[in-house]
């Protein structure tokens, strides 16, 4: 998938909220891309826009190319064919994807049959296999149960099974484990990455948790105020970041393996409002490197091959 110049605006009573401001993004076959950012950075809106899942009032422009087709120009009917088969989504709350009045098995069967001419018995057999794949014990009995009979972690697994039912080429996971306890989170992330490898899909992992992407992403894209601020291989971002925001973010996280009790680094101030029309660098008021040059938004520039940063002071930051 290749996203070019994606912009998303929401008209509100207070004015136009510019949630996504020209995002370029690409994800290769089988690749795991982590999109990291804080609330309001536009990371979730970007994902929803590519899936055309935003409310009607959202004004979306740009291109979302998937295997050569621009998803933004597809008919609603054609888009429904793409969703759930070529591209599938895993949400934070599994109940957004599961219907409480049907059994888990019925829903996965329906998902399979909606996209392929498969008979019910075969689809059921495949459903049981899928539930087994995501680590649900006694899958054929569990398939006959309703979502409310599942624990939180199991619902998450069931939703993952449903998402991968049609072997999607791209799996989008939006904060998939944020609501889960840490021991369950570890299980669910394992299931997602195992399933993703088994099915051979690419994975777009959207999260605020840098720890989560550190372990599984091949590449990381950091977003701030609706823009991509840095993009590069995971090690490049974590060990050789040249962006003041990324660097500040990494230094702000308390580390479990810290030896001494030291003071945390803080990024002062707050992120800008989505209403902002300011043409300065959005990170300028919080940045220790900011000066007069930062009165314009910097371009996303390649620093070393495959590693881009949006900053006027790349030289100083990297020192």
């Amino acid at each position: 998938m290749e996203v070019q110049g994606l912009t998303v605006e929401f008209p509100t009573e207070d004015g136009l909220v510019r949630a996504v401001r020209g995002v370029d993004m690409h994800i290769a076959e089988g690749e795991v891309l982590g999109i990291v950012g804080e609330s309001g950075s536009g990371k979730s809106v970007t994902a929803l826009a590519t899936m055309r899942l935003l409310p009607k009032r959202a004004q979306v422009s740009g291109q979302v190319l998937f295997e050569g087709r621009d998803l933004l120009t597809l008919s609603d009917r054609a888009m429904r064919g793409v969703r759930g088969s070529d591209i599938a989504m895993i949400f934070q709350d599994p109940m957004t994807a599961l219907n409480p009045v049907f059994t888990v098995g019925e829903q996965i069967v329906e998902m399979i049959r909606a996209h392929a001419p498969v008979g019910k018995p075969l689809a059921w057999k495949r459903t049981v296999e899928l539930l087994d794949l995501v680590g649900i014990s006694e899958p054929s009995r569990r398939a006959r149960q309703y979502p409310h009979e599942f624990s939180g972690g199991m619902r998450q697994r069931a939703m993952i099974a449903m998402a991968v039912a049609n072997r999607p080429k791209l799996l989008i996971a939006d904060e998939p484990t944020t609501a889960l306890d840490v021991t369950i989170q570890a299980q669910v992330m394992e299931v997602i990455t195992e399933v993703q490898k088994a099915v051979g899909s690419a994975l777009l992992l959207i999260t605020h948790d840098l720890g989560l992407v550190a372990g599984i992403a091949h590449r990381v894209q950091v977003m701030y105020a609706g823009r991509v601020f840095e993009n590069g291989a995971t090690d490049e971002i974590f060990y050789r970041s040249v962006n003041p925001y990324t660097k500040g973010l990494l230094r702000s996280i308390p580390r479990l393996d810290a030896k001494e009790k030291t003071r945390l680094y803080t990024i002062p101030g707050l992120p800008p409002s989505g209403l902002s029309r300011n043409e300065a660098c959005p990170f300028r008021p919080r940045c220790e490197f900011a000066d007069a040059v930062c009165g314009t938004v910097p371009e996303l520039v390649e620093v070393v091959p495959g590693h881009q940063s949006r900053c006027h002071h790349t030289q100083e930051v990297s020192m």
């Binding site: 804080e38 609330s39 624990s151 939180g152 972690g153 199991m154 306890d181 840490v182 021991t183 369950i184 989170q185 570890a186 299980q187 394992e190 605020h208 948790d209 840098l210 720890g211 989560l212 550190a214 372990g215 599984i216 995971t234 090690d235 974590f238 060990y239 500040g248 973010l249 990494l250 702000s252 996280i253 308390p254 580390r255 479990l256 393996d257 810290a258 009790k261 003071r263 945390l264 680094y265 803080t266 990024i267 002062p268 707050l270 992120p271 919080r286």
Partner: protein, 345 residues
């Protein structure tokens, strides 16, 4: 002052489970089931555990926001659980609470200055003086003077949490119970609030009981930590010991599951996968409550509840077969000829 500021011993808080037409009590959830710890002035004790472990109920029980069923809470030597309402109100001046969602605890119709001044006025400070003190408090938590006139909805989550903290500090408490104070905040704002709490502790000498599910955050702020599982403290140790020589298998599993924002560390790490989900707290397993998910459980664990034992200088562990210093849970599992789910490594 001699002795700890706050002593909690064998604290028990049960919630009735009601069912049927007449809402008969059919059982109890033992949210807090025999918890003991102490808190010295100026120190931070962290409480970690997953949802349903009883950590929030523990904080509320200490302040009697929920009534404990049994046990002792002694504040400066006074038995908190047996005092009358009037005295309890006085005691709450000294023991304050900060909640996760400051929006729910701030009055939407009051400018934040008045919200911060309110406890002072209730406790007899003149209005003018209370407002002045409120301004000082808002400044102490890093807000600008003009912010005092604004309403909660005009602030971001981090700013509202600052207001919540200012209000908790208004009566100059000696103990502040913080229940998931930074969980709702973004990383860059979270570190601001953590540092603020640290500064205020140095400046005013508060003792904190810091309750959160995020192990990295709790370890960062704590001098000592309590690890809870299904209503019980399974391990209590210094921040160093919890990480360097954890003794309870649950602590091992919990530590192994926390992602660290360092790809090199993450690639090498082995995560221990605990079997199954948390048991129903309404009918916890017999004996040790962790035994149903514990990879090294023995027969004894189903029969006898393990008592908390001091393994080294106040490092308390409630396990029949604690992991030794220098040993890992995986070593023990291998030694027993068993297996456990492991991710990565």
């Amino acid at each position: 002052m001699s002795g700890p500021l706050l002593v909690v011993a064998d604290l028990v808080t049960h919630f009735p489970i009601k069912a049927g037409l007449f809402r008969r009590v059919v059982g109890h959830v033992r949210a807090v089931d025999g918890v003991s710890f102490h808190l010295d002035s100026g120190e931070t004790v962290g409480v970690v555990g997953e949802s349903g472990c009883g950590k929030s109920t523990l904080g509320r029980s200490v302040l009697r926001l929920v009534e404990p069923d049994d046990g002792v809470v002694a504040f400066k030597g006074e038995d908190v659980l047996s005092v009358d309402k009037t005295r309890m109100r006085e005691l709450r001046r000294e023991m304050q609470m900060v909640f996760q969602d400051p929006f729910a605890s701030l009055n939407p119709r009051l400018p934040v200055r008045d919200t911060v001044a309110e406890p002072l006025i209730i406790h007899g400070t003149a209005k003018q003086e209370a407002r002045q003190k409120a301004d000082e408090l808002l400044e102490a938590v890093g807000m600008r003077p003009e912010h005092g006139n604004r309403y909660p909805h005009e602030f971001s989550g981090g700013q509202r949490q600052r207001v919540g903290i200012a209000r908790a500090l208004a009566l100059d408490p000696s103990v502040v119970i913080l229940d998931e104070p930074v969980s709702a905040l973004d990383v860059s704002i979270q570190s601001q609030v953590i540092n603020l709490l640290d500064d205020l502790q140095h400046r005013f000498g508060f003792a904190y009981l810091f309750i959160a599910h995020d192990l990295s955050v709790v370890r960062h702020v704590s001098d000592r930590m309590l690890v809870m599982y299904l209503g019980k403290v399974v391990e209590a140790a210094s921040r160093a010991d919890v990480y360097d020589s954890p003794a309870h298998p649950y602590t091992h599993a919990l530590l192994s599951a926390v992602p660290v924002a360092d790809p090199g560390v993450e690639r090498k790490r082995k995560r221990i996968v605990l079997e199954g989900d948390l048991p129903n707290p309404g009918s916890p397993p017999t004996g040790c409550r962790f035994r149903t998910r514990c990879p090294i459980a023995h027969e004894l664990c189903a029969i006898e509840t393990p008592p908390a034992v001091d393994v080294a200088n106040g490092h308390m562990v409630a396990c029949h077969f604690p992991i030794e210093r220098g040993e890992t849970l995986l070593d023990r599992v291998a030694q027993l000829g068993r297996s456990v789910g492991v991710i990565g490594g």
